[in-house]
Symmetry: C2
Subunit: 304 residues, 2 copies
């Protein structure tokens, strides 16, 4: 199962309806927790997500609204008895800050925690069967990274070709796994019964002003989760404090060929989420979500 569960959508301070940041991306057997702000432990509960579902925790930067939920989440993982490693990604320069928030006995930490911080302009953090997972540096005053998941290309089976060759049932799986299959007197190959299916890409862009990193992360993303702290009227504030406006975020999405755009991390100064939608719609025609806490957003399907 794949889905994005929005745990919190506030920026610097929480509001009655918006908890601090937090985003959970369920990706088959993987569970990516991005930017656990204060209260994420309880938001997970409200969303029906077990702490043991988390396999990777990704912190974009160490401002409190993006990491003060770490002690609670990590303690909860230990309490619930994680049976698998939990990889933790964060800016390398924040190693001491992460250590302060880790708050685990060293035996518990050694048992399941894998700290794999990001450094440089771009870092490959994982290359696994589920895909590659990378960090790209952003521009926010303190060192900050966005994250991107790239699913490896797969193949889409063509039912008419399979039927023509008389391959059906469990034989289809065998052909997929082996790449070839004896069918009567001849050998059927995977290539002749399928076409290449590009993998999906999901990008996560938090606090940043517009920079090359934003475009690198968003390029061709099927799903882009991106901060839009401000509206156009406060573009000067956005620039000053290293944030994006809804219009900027939508423009990036449009120029990058993004299919589904999720705006989040809203300043408390705005009351009406429809304003973010209006300003984004000027630029972006695809699927658009102005995130609310506890939203569940489907991951787009493969195009072919």
């Amino acid at each position: 199962m794949r889905e994005l569960v929005v745990l919190g959508t506030a920026s610097q301070v929480p509001t009655r309806t918006r908890n601090h940041n937090g985003y959970f991306l369920r990706w088959d057997g993987e569970g990516f927790l991005f930017d656990p702000g204060e209260g994420t432990q309880r938001q997970l509960l409200l969303a029906g997500i077990a702490a043991s579902d988390i396999t990777r925790i990704c912190v974009t930067h160490f401002h409190g609204d993006h990491c003060f939920g770490l002690p609670g989440v990590l303690s909860r993982i230990v309490l619930d008895g994680a049976a698998h490693p939990v990889h933790c990604h964060y800016p390398e320069s924040g190693r001491d800050l992460f250590a302060r928030l880790r708050w685990l006995r060293s035996d518990a930490a050694a048992r399941f925690l894998r700290e794999e911080p990001a450094s440089g302009a771009r870092a490959l953090l994982a290359s696994e069967p589920f895909g590659t997972f990378s960090a790209v540096r952003l521009d926010h005053g303190v060192e900050a990274y966005g994250y991107r998941l790239d699913e490896p290309p797969g193949r889409r089976m063509l039912p008419d070709r399979l039927a023509a060759l008389g391959v059906s049932g469990p034989a289809v799986g065998a052909l997929q796994r082996a790449g070839r299959l004896e069918v009567g007197a001849r050998t059927a190959t995977l290539d002749e019964v399928s076409v290449e299916r590009p993998g999906l890409a999901v990008a996560f862009v938090m606090d940043t002003r517009l920079c090359d990193g934003v475009y690198a992360l968003a390029a061709g993303a099927d799903l882009l989760i991106i901060e839009s702290t401000f509206l156009e009227a406060d573009a000067a504030l956005a620039a000053e404090f290293g944030h994006l406006t809804a219009g900027q975020a939508a423009q990036v999405a449009a120029e990058s060929g993004v299919r589904t755009l999720v705006l989040t991390h809203f300043s408390q100064r705005y009351q009406d989420p429809a304003e973010f939608e209006r300003e984004a719609r000027v630029h972006f025609g695809g699927e658009l979500y102005v995130a609310q806490d506890l939203d569940r957003i489907p991951v787009p399907k493969h195009l072919v």
Copy 2:
């Protein structure tokens, strides 16, 4: 204005209806924040309490459910620009842990933070016009303290005596402040127009097994906020993990002459708060609250 605002009532893990611990005691111009668990920043917002209302933060011990809200609360105090000192009390042995959770730039910390940890069996933390504030050691495995506020005795004015002497209006205040007042040919003294009024006492007892400290804190308290993590059926668990049952808490209250009893810090294993009330009522006949998040509980009035 005086009131107790309950911010959270869960024990180890939060539930759908119970946030982690947090209690705010408004006491005229003072604001005591006890045990800010994760999410306290948002609970304060939901309760309509400004971070700048906090003048003292009191941590009983450094288990996560009693302190993971510290980084958020302290950052918020700075963000909102506290104009007054904020005294922080916690077990001395947790100085390093407090430092990890403080998460403030040193100039901000120096400007408003006053760390005044508790040590020994009993520590006098403050002696101010509002009263004395003390910590008493409890028994919970890790070092833990309960807290107690003792209002100084005052005097209750007697309207009939004042009337007999012809003292009224602003003259009453003048007599109170100076202790004496010329009335016609004679001098009226405060003693002849008033009686002594004992001060109120408020006690805060968190995670502990039954011990002398619990009784020292509860003795004669007008308001006792006390953990009752377990019900009688799980008394063995309470003893093992250093907690109280509702029955034990109520028995202490009854034996100590407590007027208003607030039970809180409930294990998530119990669904029905009425069970705590039932078990407490076996022992305690006074005003009883089984706390719910965001309850506002009035501080008892002076008896005379």
